[in-house]
Symmetry: C2
Subunit: 415 residues, 2 copies
């Protein structure tokens, strides 16, 4: 057969994604498939059954990461790997993560039905809990696998109901016995929706990010003094929510203050105590998320915020605690693989765009020890992490075709 | 016996309050006894058993209000009534509300053991859901009883889990069949902790408020656009939490802007959606509470905030909905009864103070149709609606003694 004319089956990819979208599907067309929930388990079971249909060698490691391996002609050579994650945000979309796992599976299906055996083994992977929305932080299991986070620490992360990640892995039957420990990988491709407005704005089908911006997460805790609101004069109050509100405003203004390009800062989460309309709030927790291609700029932004926060807390008499929860440096991908994605797109007839990724991905950790690249397809209206998240089926197929030929090229390399 | 030397039993009042404090007691010495919860039911059952011990005639009406009646010599005369509420705030204190019910019960016990039959009947009352922290609004059942709120509307108020007040009344077995409908009352006294810092600051034991400030409650709903935070530039975001934060700051600054005296404004409650650290918030609900002795000033404060809110919402592109949930006008109490409380305090040897009440009470609705007054005792450090809420046992007894003699005076009046 003419390898160059090989294409994945777009209809099959579509129906595969549609079947997955039913698991945790929401009335408004999104999905809620939180890490290690019953829905996550159901989707994993289905994914595993599909790997079995292809006679792939299945491994489940201690973090619940699922690997499906298709042997190569020479299994002494390091494998090519591709995948993403099955878990979603609460009321998230039908493409985020799952497209990358099902896309990589579709590549395996296409190879199998065309009786193509590549030189190198090919591994499809589902990384556990990429989102970090149930158990913080995100990307925890690729982090453990890559040797950058400790297994015990990951097991002991708790959700808001006090359930531990390790216990929940066991509960859904995905705490494997194989060590969650990296082995050499020849090339890692992660196929994903863009989750931003750039490709649509530029009218391009395929995006190849040069890397991922840095990601800094902070947790802020404020202590106020609760009192009945009516009899407590304004002067002398210690209102934790008023102090937090000034801080949230400061976070939003910080990027403009530092130079808006190349820096975003967001408060996504807030808890208020006791949260009763006639009691002055005595405790607030909120999060800060800072991202930039320029790590130093992100740090300078945080230093500036810390100064603001301290001044605000002092003024309101609301003691302040700040935790630096998580920091990942900006991650430039492998130049050669990124160029391969761009060239492959053009070769098979898709327009392409060289860009950055504003979102973190499991590719961030993989990128630390093996050649890594990502393949983006457009998000309609730039929307993601919401139920209306959408990508056209043509674009889904386009990205999978670019993945197919990128995998074939990498897996054909004998050294 | 010499009526003037009659005193309530301070030790008995203390042990009664201590027994009640065990129901819903929190590790830090407060109570969580939300309206129509299992704890509320347990406390009601205990209260009813105590009324039974005194052979009082017990009535439970459609709103779950509990009345215990001690007959007078002439039961054709309108009764004297006293009470407050058994429900508490979440992690609230051991005195708010319950002191007024147990204080009124202690008055009945004192009369009974001294074989004193008053001219008029004396009724001890527990009003259902005064706090309004589970089912909004507050003081709902005295409002229904006084004929100012509709029974159906009250039944259909829901808590955050979607449970209806009417169903929960039925569930705990306190949906009585007697209509929740006022009858003439000769005098209503409500005994309560101050919940503010004034009596302590003035070093007085008994406070007699000339009335209750007005109370305006508003609910604000903001709509934003959810997106993954990383790939979404700062410019063009519609972040509902950022808009809400500016509004909360405006609420806090409003009283100073209008002239700080005699006006307080507070945001006690906030809900953020989807409340995930890497998603731009797309929905915020928060509450506004405005109180003043001057109703017009409170309205002008709200008008000023509405202008601010509209400007902020427009600037952020976050559509705004404002609900005027509840308004109670400032309520001057009955001059004669207020003076009686002040005089009675002095007669039996307690210092007294003429003041206003910053908090709403069931007395607000009673005051609309019958002569009403309140008796305040000091809150240590002015703290209330918190677990450290406290009042000395001496002051608890002092207030109950003032209530006893105020009730005796009113119930001795033959016209």
């Amino acid at each position: 057969m003419d390898m160059n004319s090989l294409r994945i089956n777009g209809k099959r990819l579509q129906s595969t994604l549609e079947e997955m979208a039913k698991i945790g599907g929401t009335p408004n067309g999104g999905v809620t498939r939180l890490a290690l929930s019953d829905e996550d388990k159901k989707a994993r079971d289905l994914f595993v059954s599909w790997l079995e249909e292809l006679d792939m060698e299945i491994t489940i490691d201690e973090m619940g990461n699922i690997f499906g391996k298709m042997p190569g002609k020479n299994n002494d050579l390091d494998p090519v790997m591709s995948g993403s994650h099955i878990d979603s945000q609460p009321k998230g979309g039908r493409f985020d993560g799952i497209l990358g796992v099902m896309g990589a599976l579709e590549v395996a299906r296409t190879l199998k039905e065309n009786n193509i055996q590549l030189e190198r083994p090919y591994i499809v992977v589902d990384w556990t809990n990429e989102e970090g929305s149930r158990f913080s932080p995100a990307m925890v299991s690729s982090g453990v696998w890559a040797g950058e986070l400790s297994l015990d620490w990951a097991y002991n992360r708790t959700d808001i109901n006090g359930k531990k990640q390790g216990e929940e892995l066991e509960r859904i039957g995905y705490k494997g016995s194989v060590p969650a420990k990296k082995h050499p990988v020849h090339a890692y491709y992660e196929y994903h929706i863009e989750q931003g407005p750039i490709l649509e704005r530029e009218d391009k089908t395929i995006g190849a990010p040069k890397g991922i911006v840095c990601l800094h997460w902070y947790d802020i805790y404020l202590e106020g003094e609760a009192n009945q609101v009516g009899p407590t004069p304004m002067v002398g109050r210690h209102d934790a929510l008023v102090a937090a509100s000034e801080m949230i405003t400061a976070v939003n203004k910080m990027p403009a203050k530092m130079g808006i390009d190349n820096l975003v800062a967001t408060v996504g989460e807030i808890q208020n105590q006791p949260n009763s309309r006639n009691i002055i709030p005595n405790g607030v927790h909120f999060t800060v998320d800072i991202r930039s291609w320029d790590d130093d700029l992100a740090i300078r932004g945080w230093e500036s915020l810390k100064k603001d926060f301290n001044e605000i807390a002092e003024r309101h008499g609301t003691p302040l605690r700040m935790e630096e929860t998580w920091r990942v440096e900006h991650a430039p991908f492998d130049d050669r693989l990124v160029k391969r994605v761009l060239e492959t797109a053009e070769e098979i007839g898709y327009s392409s765009h060289y860009m950055v990724s504003g979102a973190g991905h499991d590719a961030s950790y993989m990128n630390h020890f093996c050649p890594t690249a990502m393949i983006f397809v457009p998000s309609i209206n730039g929307r993601s992490h919401v139920e209306v998240e959408n990508t056209s089926w043509e674009d889904c197929a386009a990205g999978a075709n670019v993945l197919l030929h990128s995998v074939i090229k990498s897996a054909s390399e004998t050294e």
